[in-house]
């Protein structure tokens, strides 16, 4: 350790350190232009000159490269030092008068026009670039020449191969003398280009050391070996000089880790199709032809344009955008993907609607499609709404995109449905690219020895949708087949259940108990509030002045700490918050960010990790309720944010730590509905070791599946169903209750109690979780003369004929299928999802039985999503004739002289044609078995179509918002057998997450009585919908006859609190004083 004096103060430094390093640590600022932390100092610019007294005389030395020694005295702030620096700056400015950095320095030193001859250089010969290049292990540039001739140059002034165009020199050049353009034009002979950011689809660059995206888990930077200079030359390692915790180790190697596992779940996902090979679309050549994934990034607030809708060639706001569907899907001519990618129609509509919302002008959006496939829950409504909002839907497959010479626009020629050729110009064209399996995943599947489908997806069976061909290996997500988020989430839960079933015995054998952070007692402490203001990328910070709100929070009473975060919900921010709460001994926390409805639990977890009771927290919603809705009023939005923060701070100061009650979860499950999905749920629950009661309103198990002939794969449903029923009946953990209805439900998650009524017999059942699988039924059509002629059937009735092997089916000359009977119409605006595939399958079956039968399918859009598309192709090859109609021009059916005549307008000929049919099959809609009493019993909602509403359309498709109640099958939405089975398993999987916990904590925000004030009026007892309040027994020792509240039953609604005439009830967490504090803080008390 070396001790010396710096500006009269004693400071210490290590042997070998330079004055500048010690000064920096001591907080003494010394200006420099040529110093870089990662480089050896060179003393080139001399601005860091300081005064050194060595005991005998005073000298001037450069602080950056003068080593410290014991007893020296350094002064950085004397007149002589300043005069010296001023002279240096004046000379540098004379050399480079146009460099802003020097102009600013000159201003600081009070220099006007230099006294010396002005030159026109931009380089100050600091040598940072050459030293950095050497550090890179490259030395492509150096200082050449002597004296006034000295300059930065390449050998022989020639462009060089040695330069890798890494850009390190440009990144350190203080004056802008070396730029990326200069590297490209005069230094490197290798072309330089940005490292494309994978997350932003290459629309933006990234660094070799990078975090893939802001919310990545883990949120730790990684080094990209392929582009990092160190892995090319052995040099650089500049990053290590900047890492404060020495976390970077360039010698790390890939490791092989061996794990013992009982099952494997494959979720490798998909890769987006690359349309570069389609020459006629000019994707590779024209910047304004982009993929849908690129469009996603352009529309994203965290994307390359910050969510501003622009086209890439000239950053002009596009006035007209077109989407081309089925690029890389349903195409055997230009690629090998014959399947439908399932998701593109919906995402294209979504992009078009969002693009229209983002554009502050009337944006024209046109979607060019073959069949519009909006077969998901509420998707058809979205499609209808998009049409109402002016998105144009054009049924045409466009062959070529032509650049318009002399402009950045694009021209296309297409044929309308009426057969007219139209040429139209667009500013930007989005290719709705399909999903395909990555070749690496195919290789992995081969290594694992699992079978793939013709489309390279994982082969599964209808009745075992998440099982691969190899036992113990399961699959979910887009590798099982192209699918959207809800279906992927269902699959994921189903695969987890499948794995859990075979591993049920090993459950909890490798469990580690998490460390419980002891709760700090803060009762009686003065509030110490921390306020964290979230920028949410630009979602909040783009409108609200976040630093101003943050600083304002610092002026509020009891606030001890303030900060702002880019994303408060990011994992690293959470960890930082935990540390800050501990370090600053905060005992109340306010997060000003998004909505507590989604993020309160996350931040409460942070409090728990910091040892604080989770109720010492308040969120204020400056995104959903502020920045997003007042985006054109940044000043008012900032004012509102301040008000909301002030209100939250005044409330949180009054918050108290609250206890949570723990209750046991009854380990029995109830499944309502004995169809395919209900039986599957019961089977999964029982397989994982839970006693399960399966109740069925009818007299036998099987539901609609009993009436279905065969699966798409050709298996007879009857056989597979019999196997399942046999399994259920043979499992003693499953108690089957036939002809039974649920007639009452009491209690709550973990502890339900119901009455099961079967005729006259009544049974009470206690259980912890319930799965609703009440199913659906086929609509009995009221059109197309249904019921008036035995030759007019519904799809299920035709299946029954197949099952009975009706000999009449071989003698049919002409069969007609009519699609969308009762679906996709104003009173039932949803797609029944299964009917297209079902009818095509049945059409093929008719053809199989008699190849001479003429089969017609009258459809609106064929929705054979995923690999069901092969069936559509097979049907066309087999001679099934597909004729399209629309909702306003349905086929007409009449019975004349005992002949069924159907008139339909042919979409190709645009003329009506008549078909005489011997068999008409109506693809009738799927209706839910509307069960309002069940909805009321469990307090779960029904949507406008009477399907149950799940917790979250995407992330919670198999559960309800009501705790402990789960959902599967047709009660959720129409779906084929494989999806019903997957959801049956998924609902069981979700239920088991509760059952496996054995105990759950109730909320702390519950009501509490103050018996001393209670007048025993009984209003609370009669008014509570959850029966939480009751009278204390008359013979009780204390407070007999007064009201008390069961914290387990209390939902914290506060109804009793508001109704209490005596003011004897308080609601913890929403107490009177807390709400009044918010009201009083509303207007600023200045």
């Amino acid at each position: 350790m070396i001790t010396f004096k710096l500006n009269g103060k004693t400071v210490q430094g290590e042997e070998g350190q330079y004055i500048l390093q010690v000064a920096e640590k001591a907080g003494v600022e010394i200006p420099t232009l040529c110093h870089h932390k990662a480089l050896e100092p060179a003393g080139m610019c001399r601005i860091c000159t300081v005064e050194l007294f060595d005991g005998r005389r005073t000298r001037f030395v450069t602080a950056c490269n003068y080593p410290i020694w014991e007893g020296m005295e350094v002064k950085t702030d004397t007149e002589a030092v300043h005069a010296g620096r001023k002279l240096i700056v004046e000379m540098l400015l004379a050399r480079c008068p146009e460099v802003p950095l020097l102009q600013n320095l000159a201003k600081e030193y009070g220099i006007g026009t230099p006294r010396f001859k002005l030159e026109n250089d931009t380089c100050i010969l600091c040598g940072l670039c050459t030293r950095m290049c050497e550090k890179m292990g490259n030395s492509a540039i150096s200082l050449t020449g002597r004296g006034v001739e000295m300059k930065v140059d390449t050998p022989f002034h020639l462009q060089t191969d040695v330069c890798m165009a890494c850009g390190a020199c440009a990144s350190v050049c203080p004056t802008g003398h070396i730029t990326l353009e200069k590297i490209r034009e005069v230094i490197s002979r290798r072309g330089s280009r940005l490292i494309p950011s994978e997350y932003d689809m290459g629309l933006k660059g990234r660094k070799p050391v990078y975090v893939p995206y802001a919310q990545a888990v883990p949120n730790t930077p990684a080094i990209d070996r392929d582009v990092c200079v160190h892995f090319k030359t052995g040099g650089c390692q500049v990053c290590t000089s900047f890492c404060g915790v020495d976390a970077i180790d360039h010698t790390m190697e890939d490791e092989i880790v061996e794990l013992d596992v009982g099952s494997i779940i494959l979720a490798p996902g998909f890769e987006p199709f690359d349309p570069s090979k389609f020459d006629s679309y000019n994707y590779a050549k024209h910047p304004n032809v982009i993929t849908s994934m690129e469009m996603e990034r352009i529309l994203s607030a965290s994307g390359p344009t910050g969510g501003h809708l622009v086209r890439l060639s000239d950053h002009k706001e596009p006035k007209k955008i077109a989407w081309f569907q089925c690029v890389g899907s349903r195409d055997l001519n230009r690629c090998d993907n014959a399947y439908c990618s399932s998701v593109c129609c919906m995402y294209a509509i979504k992009e078009a609607v969002i693009a229209k919302e983002h554009a502050p002008y009337d944006l024209d959006c046109a979607i060019f499609f073959m069949d519009m496939r909006t077969h998901g829950k509420d998707f058809e409504r979205f499609y209808d709404n998009a049409k109402a909002k002016g998105v144009r839907f054009i049924r045409s497959r466009v062959h070529t995109i032509d650049p318009v010479p002399g402009s950045d626009d694009l021209s296309i020629r297409y044929i309308t449905e009426k057969g007219e050729t139209v040429t139209e110009m667009f500013d930007q064209i989005v290719l709705s690219i399909g999903l395909q399996t990555d070749p690496e995943v195919v290789a992995m599947a081969n290594r694992l020895g699992i079978e793939l489908t013709p489309g390279n997806f994982c082969k599964t069976d209808t009745f075992m949708p998440v099982e691969t061909s190899r036992k113990g290996i399961y699959v979910c997500g887009a590798f099982q087949g192209p699918k959207d988020i809800p279906q992927s989430v269902v699959d994921a839960s189903a695969a987890a259940s499948a794995a859990g079933e075979i591993l049920a015995e090993a459950r909890n054998t490798l469990t580690k108990i998490p460390e419980i952070i002891p709760e700090t007692n803060v009762i009686g402490e003065r509030p110490r509030i921390g306020v964290f203001v979230c920028r949410c990328g630009i979602n909040i910070a783009g409108v609200v002045n976040v630093p101003e709100v943050r600083d304002y929070a610092g002026t509020l009473p009891y606030v001890e700490y303030i900060s702002d975060n880019l994303y408060s919900c990011a994992q690293d921010t959470q960890e930082t918050m935990t540390q800050i709460i501990k370090q600053k001994k905060l005992n109340r926390v306010v997060v000003a960010a998004c909505t507590p409805k989604t993020h309160e639990p996350l931040f409460q977890e942070t409090l728990i990790n910091a040892g604080l009771n989770k109720y010492l927290f308040e969120m204020c919603n400056i995104r959903n309720h502020d920045s997003w809705v007042h985006k054109n009023n940044p000043d008012l939005a900032t004012q509102k944010a301040k008000d909301l923060v002030r209100m939250a701070v005044s409330k949180v100061a009054l918050m108290q730590p609250l206890p949570e009650a723990e209750l046991n979860v009854n380990q029995t499950a109830l499944v309502i509905g004995g169809g395919i999905s209900g039986m599957t749920a019961a089977k999964s629950l029982a397989n994982q070791g839970y006693e399960t009661h399966l109740i069925e309103a009818g007299d036998r198990l099987g539901g609609n599946a009993r009436r279905i002939f065969k699966t798409v794969a050709g298996d007879l449903v009857k056989d597979k169903l019999a196997e399942l029923v046999q399994h259920i009946e043979g499992d003693d953990r499953i108690k089957i209750h036939l002809n039974t209805r649920l007639t009452s439900v009491e209690g709550f998650v973990g502890s339900f109690k119901s009455t099961l009524t079967a005729g006259d017999s009544i049974e009470e059942l206690e259980y912890g979780v319930a799965v609703v699988a009440t199913g659906g039924t086929a609509l009995k059509p009221e059109e197309y003369s249904y019921g008036q002629d035995p030759r007019i059937l519904t799809s299920l009735e035709l299946d029954e004929k197949f099952m009975a092997d009706d000999p009449g089916l071989k003698k049919i000359n002409s069969a007609v299928f009519i699609q969308c009977v009762g679906s996709r119409q104003p009173d039932r605006p949803y797609c029944s999802r299964v009917c297209c595939t079902h009818s095509i399958d049945n059409a093929l079956e008719l053809k199989k039985r008699n190849p001479d039968t003429d089969v017609f399918i009258l459809y609106r859009d064929i929705r054979t999503y995923g690999e069901r598309e092969y069936l559509y192709k097979e049907a066309r090859e087999a001679g099934v004739i597909f004729i399209r109609h629309d909702r306003d021009n349905k086929p007409q059916l009449r019975i004349e002289d005992d002949r069924i005549r159907i008139t339909v307008t042919d979409h190709v000929l645009q003329r009506p044609m008549e078909i005489t049919a011997d068999l008409v099959t109506l693809a009738s809609a799927i209706l839910p078995n509307k069960d309002e009493s069940l909805a009321q019993f469990f307090k779960v909602p029904l949507n406008d179509d009477n399907f149950f509403v799940e917790k979250h359309a995407k992330l919670g498709p198999s559960e309800f918002a009501t705790d402990g109640v789960f959902l599967c099958g047709l009660a959720h939405y129409p779906k084929p057998i494989d999806e019903a089975i997957a959801q049956g398993r998924a609902s069981a999987s979700r239920a088991i997450t509760l059952l496996a916990k054995k105990t759950i904590n109730t909320s702390g925000t519950v009501a509490e009585t103050e018996p001393a004030i209670c007048s025993s009026c009984g209003v609370c007892v009669s008014i509570c919908p959850y029966s939480a309040p009751s009278f204390i027994a008359a013979d009780a020792r204390m407070h007999a006859g007064k009201a008390q509240i069961n914290p387990v039953l209390c939902k914290g609604c506060g109804l009793c609190v508001a109704s209490c005439r005596s003011g004897a009830i308080r609601l913890k967490g929403f107490d009177n004083d807390q709400i009044f504090a918010q009201i009083f803080a509303m207007t600023e008390a200045v």
Partner: protein
């Protein structure tokens, strides 16, 4: 026309109206900024005293929704 803008205090039920206000944000709807929301667990929690207090504090209108 007067350019007077009322100051509105709203008491929104956590389960419906507060969620609806969130959704208005998600849907990027726009509305005037002169409203301050107080989240309550249910409109059952609403007390006439809250409305009176808000008016006394200078609010021009109180909106209870749930």
């Amino acid at each position: 026309m007067s350019d007077w803008e009322p100051k509105i205090v709203s008491f929104l039920c956590n389960w419906c109206s507060y969620g609806a206000a969130d959704l208005a944000g998600v849907s990027r709807m726009e509305y005037p900024a002169n409203i301050r929301v107080i989240r309550i667990p249910c409109t059952g929690r609403m007390s006439p005293k809250f409305a009176l207090a808000a008016l006394r504090e200078g609010a021009d209108a109180v909106w209870v929704s749930g």
